[in-house]
């Protein structure tokens, strides 16, 4: 009986088989600025299917058998890399990892040479993390493989933004008109940038908040180059009635470069605390891309509290990345 009801919930009217290609146009995932809302929707739906696989005892399907995924990380990030790795393994892809020390970037070792080597090794999808903004864009112009940007400089982190959106959808009915507040070092945050693109495309009401030295430039009149969002330095105003509050990792070197007087002052002015959250919507969820500097950008009681969905974000990351692998593996042949 329950099952019957579940079928109804999914809605049989929407059940016509639909070629994803009609919606999906991407060979690479570099940023979300060029995603349509239909494409984001497709990723969300596909992620939901992948999420179900993750709840099974055997979390493995044969979909990408014979495909090779290579991770190329110019910055260490065990979390992100293992999320991609797990996603690839769950889809039965072959996976190999390449870590390049960030010093070889400054030595001017050619990114393109490295990518050509990977292609010779048969990479179908290259997952790339790089300290310089735009490096994945450069890569995409010079290799046949699909490039997935796993974070580049201050530019973009599309898979993180998609998993953030999926996590929001798990708790909220729809992104449209959702009040989302992102707090912290916005200007240097690729996570914030990609979230601003995806959330505004889906109709969310986005507010960014932080000290003025860490807010992006040109936001008074950003269109057509960047989405219009609310900008404020007042954290209480930013949190008021918010449905989602997202913290960002504060790089501690921002103090040395004179953007902040001290970490202590930052925490005092911009930490997401229980008290500040009490002004948000009752059902507010608290997010953070991790790793968290506890009691700097977010109070530890909040990070571990009942409003926090930070741990779910990690699981959802695997599902989103499986979905993207699936969509790219289908899409990339169709040029």
């Amino acid at each position: 009986m329950e099952a019957v009801e579940q079928i109804n919930l999914i809605g049989l009217k929407d059940e016509k088989p639909q070629p994803a290609q009609k919606i999906w146009k991407h060979k690479h995932i570099l940023d979300l600025d060029d995603f349509t809302s239909e494409e984001i929707d497709l990723v969300m739906q596909t992620t939901e299917a992948m999420h179900e696989i993750l709840s099974r005892p055997i979390k493995k399907v044969p979909t990408l058998r014979g495909k090779t995924v290579v991770t190329l990380f110019y910055e260490a990030s065990t979390r992100t890399r293992s999320s991609f790795e797990l996603a690839a393994k769950n889809l039965s892809a072959d996976i190999s990892n390449l870590t390049v020390s960030s010093s070889s970037v400054t030595k001017g070792e050619s990114l393109i040479d490295t990518l050509e080597t990977m292609e010779a090794l048969g990479a179908d999808i290259v997952v790339m993390r790089h300290p310089y903004s735009g490096a994945p864009n450069l890569a995409s112009k010079h290799v046949k493989a699909s490039i997935i940007n796993a974070g580049d400089g201050w530019h973009a982190h599309p898979t993180q933004a998609l998993l953030d959106m999926y996590t929001m959808l798990k708790h909220k009915n729809s992104i449209k008109n959702l009040k989302v507040t992102i707090i912290g070092d916005i200007i240097h945050s690729r996570v914030a940038h990609s979230n601003i693109w995806s959330l505004t495309k889906m109709g969310a009401d986005v507010t960014i908040c932080g000290p003025s030295t860490l807010l992006p430039k040109g936001m008074d009149n950003p269109q057509p180059y960047f989405p219009k969002v609310n900008v404020t330095t007042d954290i209480d105003k930013a949190i008021k009635d918010a449905d989602v509050v997202m913290g960002l990792r504060l790089q501690l070197e921002r103090q040395q470069s004179g953007l902040l007087p001290s970490i202590r002052e930052y925490s005092r002015l911009y930490q997401i605390t229980e008290e500040r959250l009490s002004k948000a919507d009752k059902g507010v969820i608290v997010m953070h891309p991790g790793p968290v500097n506890e009691d700097v950008e977010i109070a530890s009681t909040v990070a571990h509290g009942d409003k926090s969905v930070i741990n779910e974000q990690v699981t959802n990351g695997v599902a989103v990345r499986m979905a993207l692998f699936y969509l790219l593996a289908g899409g990339s042949r169709n040029e």
Binding site: T106, G134, L138, R190, K217, G218
Partner: protein, 437 residues
Amino acid sequence: MNKSMLIKNGRILDPAQDLAITGDLLITDGKIKEIAPDVKNIPADCTTLDAKGMVVCPGFVDFHCHLRQPGFEEKETIATGSKAAAKGGFTTICCMPNTEPALDNKATIDFIKATSASEACIRVLPIGCITKGRKGLELADMGELAETGVVALSDDGSTIADSRIMKQALEYSLIFGLPISDHCEDAMLSNGGQINEGIIATRLGLRGIPNAAEENVIARDIALAKLTGARIHICHISTEGSVELIRNAKKDGVRITAEVTPHHLTMDEEMVLDYDTNAKVNPPLRTKKDIAALISGLKDGTIDIIATDHAPHTENDKLCEFAVAPFGISGFETALGSLMKLVHNGDIEIHLLLSKLTVVPSKIIGSKFGKLGTLNQGATADITIFDPDVEWTVDTKEFYSKGKNTPLNGHKLKGKVMATIFNGKIVYKDNSVKLGV
């Protein structure tokens, strides 16, 4: 070599003498002999060039370019750079001293002069360093440089950060009457910036260079020029604020001149949207508002000249992540085509454009190197002939410059150099131009 040449039926324009007629121009013995609606006394062995529908004007003078020799011959040489300049309609080019070694003494200047004499197809005039090794610490031997024959002094590529050194450089330059040409950039403020600070830098996640990084130093230089009474020349200005500062300084009687590049006049920051390293240039491409201010500065005389800042790099130099790519655009071969857009759009008159490319830069250089930038009778026959209306597509494969680094590859331009005559000799000719006898 023919001793005489007749350019027939051209639209002859010479801002130096306010000349605009349609007619013929006769060259004999490397000098301008006669300009008339219909030149009658034609020597027997005269070569003729039919310039119907074309503009005939003084050869362009570029006060700011980089020829990369010595030290970076893979990017450009005096031979390839001068050939590219000739193709762009330039007959006199002034090369910046940021070579390796830098042009900060007699030996290096002599090297440029000797190499130019044997390898350049046009006139190459060196600019010497302000400080030894361009380090901004000790003054270069300006007297020696002046005697050897530099047209100006500059540490282009960097600013002399120490205002005391800059003041002393200006004071000392008074002995020789040479302009100090300054690349104005407060490096502490630009702080490794890549592109214009603003929404596009936000979108691309690149560090921005604020306008104030340029304006800061211009304001300082104005104060120092006023204090010392020396000549200051401001390189490649890019912002509305810079135009305003210089406009006021001129009103104030400061001995200041300023230049703007074709790319800052015709391209805005949108050109970098796809992380195109070929549009990475310093100062960065700015906004449409800045461009409008630069055009108004050209019109009211605040900006004296247009200089290319031709900055060639190899393809490999630019084939990398945006943050590690060097700054610079290869500018000689697209300069006229880009600038003519301003004329076709009705932004500026063709006479004004030509004056900024001929007579005014010649005045800044002075008479030491001959009577340049004019078609006066008896002047050296440095002549550019261009078709103002022909449309063409930029193809960097056809560049004479080793530097293919331009964001204009594949773009359509309207206006093309058809022939360049240096010292009475044709040093560049488009394939479509036929000569007669």
